[in-house]
């Protein structure tokens, strides 16, 4: 319950932190409230104000979060508030008044105000969005596709169970539903765990930690990470041999590692599996 209240308390700041559409909305509510006497759609305005207040106050917000099954975070309770509708309604009323019912002759008053509102809208835009990461996402998709194309003929006739770095595992299930994984995106995206009653075993978590370690300690610009690998393996009580055994038990028959994986890990894998790695677009793969 404490967590729920904390989420309800901090949620408002999270919602208002990215972009200022909420500020626009609150200003719109104020405008409509002030002009309330002439307001024809009072029911919508009343509902908008009441629902917004319910979402802002932590106690009612926590109740709404319980109502929406606790599966969804605080920000989703704002779905019940007609933010876009009321903001656009207020905007239309302002513009209609300034343009005197959208008459061309009213441009002296209407044009500067329209430009001002557009500038305000522009300033209220958030800085980030996933659009910026598009090139990166596409590159990962293409990389995964290339791996699958190369590995495909090698694995023909057998059910592929792949253990690979996080991003590859993320894309592989989207590209080909026939490929199995020992663990999936729900391992590192906690929210996805809500879709299943199954939980990951400790062994699977070990596999995940080992692969994360392999990814994080890749050799870059000649920087030797061997010491880091040893420390982290000891810290997390990980052993390459044990992880490979777990992988075998889980039915993994394809292991993919980054090309610049630390030599110590690559040598251990080669030694324990007895399979020599093959290369494909920045990755080593082992047909186990």
């Amino acid at each position: 319950m404490a967590e729920l209240f904390h989420s309800a308390w901090t949620g408002w700041f999270r919602v208002t932190g990215e972009g200022k559409i909420m500020a626009l909305f609150l200003v719109s509510l104020l405008f409509l409230w002030i002009g309330g006497r002439q307001e024809k759609k009072k029911a919508l305005l009343r509902y908008g104000i009441f629902s917004a207040l319910c979402c802002i106050f932590p106690v009612t917000a926590a109740m709404l979060m319980l109502y929406q099954t606790r599966f969804y975070h605080y920000e989703w309770i704002w779905s019940m508030v007609p933010v876009t509708i009321l903001t656009a309604y207020a905007g239309t009323r302002v513009l209609a008044e300034c343009w005197q019912g959208f008459r061309r002759e009213a441009w002296r008053r209407g044009l500067p105000l329209t430009a001002g509102l557009l500038a305000v809208a522009f300033l209220c835009c958030g800085q980030s969005g996933p659009g910026a990461a598009r090139a990166d996402e596409r590159a990962w998709g293409e990389r995964t596709e290339r791996i699958l194309e190369t590995v495909g003929p090698d694995m023909e006739g057998s059910q592929v169970c792949m253990w690979a770095p996080r991003k590859i595992m993320e894309y592989v299930r989207r590209l080909d539903g026939s490929i199995l994984l020992p663990y999936g995106r729900s391992m590192w995206e906690g929210d996805l765990g809500g879709y299943s009653l199954d939980t990951y075993s400790r062994e699977m978590e070990q596999l995940y930690h080992w692969m994360s370690l392999a990814e994080e300690t890749c050799m870059e610009d000649g920087f030797d990470t061997t010491e880091m690998v040893r420390e982290r393996m000891e810290e997390q009580m990980l052993s390459t041999e044990a992880c490979l055994e777990i992988a075998e038990q889980a039915g993994v028959n394809l292991l993919v590692l980054p090309e610049n994986v630390n030599r110590i890990l690559l040598d251990e894998v080669t030694c324990f599996t007895g399979v020599s790695p093959r290369q494909v677009s920045g990755y080593y793969y082992f047909r186990l």
Binding site: Y67, G91, Y195
Partner: protein, 357 residues
């Protein structure tokens, strides 16, 4: 990704929704008139279903909700009787066929019984278009450009945000295993314990799976390109309905309202729970459909006092989003709007009473 097939599929689904919705609105109107006649035991003035504040956008949105209803029927039948996905597709085709026949009969009935009115209606549409002044045309063109740019951007960034969602993997696993919720979509491995029962009712992945099967397109194309286009058009149709309810007197204001909505979508595209973000980056999600199609449509229906129709939005939400035992945001919104309306009505009555005293 080739977007032409996705665009064509979206267009086909929109046409299907429009047809189903038109038939359903005529049917509901006919049933409503018949019930009213029986209740009052007298002839009422003839009512024209399309002239009761319901229009093409309503038909499109109602059709979308009906399509979801048909999908959930087939989905539930298959899940609770352990049928394969192929069998589920057959069930879906059967119920869709029946619904299309019913819609065709309703439309035919409407056309035959309103032939004269329709002819005069056509003339009035043309004269209305001629009457449109230049300012109105400029606003409509501006909205068209803004919407087209947004659509282009949306297609370009298709499927870029997948965090917290596994629709694509789920559709892929349905098609791969020919079963519904048989394997964990994240790993492809069979469930050991299973999944929550309340989630099993959610039918969107099944509906997308049907579209993949029937069109022959890959899940990636259907889920991240075709469906968001359908949702995009439906969303603006829903906001158009809201505009009509808010500004019934002026078309210019309605178009201006849509332009502002379009701009607000850009403004709100930086945070994952805002409307703009949903529309531009993840139009295929149940939450996006609820927030951008069902809720605006529900608001417009409540403003027009068509509460019976609002029930279908509440039911549709329960089929596509994880709700509190079927009670979701649509129910809260509808209840809130009704209470606000009633409060105003009571206030007016009591102030009127005092005035009279």
């Amino acid at each position: 990704m080739n977007f032409v097939p996705a665009l064509l599929l979206a267009l086909a689904v929109l046409c299907l929704c429009g047809f189903l919705g038109s038939g359903a609105l005529i049917f509901f109107d006919f049933v409503g008139s018949f019930a009213a006649k029986r209740r009052h035991r007298k002839m009422l003035p003839q009512r024209n279903g399309m002239n009761q504040g319901l229009n093409g956008a309503d038909a499109l949105l109602t059709g979308g909700v009906i399509l979801t209803g048909l999908a959930v029927t087939a989905h539930a039948a298959a899940v609770f009787t352990g049928q394969s996905f192929s069998r589920c597709t057959v069930i879906f085709l059967c119920v869709l066929g029946a619904a299309l026949v019913l819609a065709a009969v309703s439309i035919l009935f409407f056309v035959l019984s309103h032939k004269k009115q329709q002819d005069t209606g056509k003339a009035s549409v043309f004269s209305e278009m001629k009457k449109m002044d230049s300012g109105e045309r400029v606003l409509i063109i501006l909205f068209g450009i803004l919407a087209a740019v947004q659509l282009f951007y949306m297609i370009r960034y298709a499927g870029v945000y997948v965090e917290g969602d596994m629709t694509l993997e789920t559709v892929g696993s349905f098609l791969q295993t020919d079963g519904i919720y048989q394997v964990d979509p994240m790993t492809g491995q069979a469930y050991t314990v299973g999944m929550p029962d309340r989630l099993k009712i959610l039918c969107l992945p099944t509906l997308y799976g049907f579209l993949c099967r029937l069109s022959g397109l890959a899940p990636g194309t259907v889920v991240t390109a075709a469906v968001p286009i359908w949702v995009f058009v439906s969303s603006y149709a829903a906001f158009f309905c809201v505009g009509r309810s808010l500004f019934p007197e002026s078309r210019k204001k309605r178009v201006c309202f849509l332009i502002i909505v379009c701009i607000l979508m850009w403004v709100g595209c930086s945070f994952h729970s805002l409307d703009g973000f949903g529309l531009l980056y993840c139009g295929y999600r149940g939450l996006t459909i609820r927030n951008l199609v069902l809720i605006p449509y529900l608001v417009s229906l409540c403003l027009r006092k068509k509460r019976g129709m609002a029930l279908i939005c509440i039911a549709a939400e329960a089929c596509i989003v994880w709700t509190f035992y079927g009670m979701g945001v649509c129910l809260l919104t509808a209840a809130g709007l009704c209470l606000a309306e009633r409060g105003l009505h009571d206030g007016r009555v009591s102030s009127g009473g005092k005035g009279a005293a």
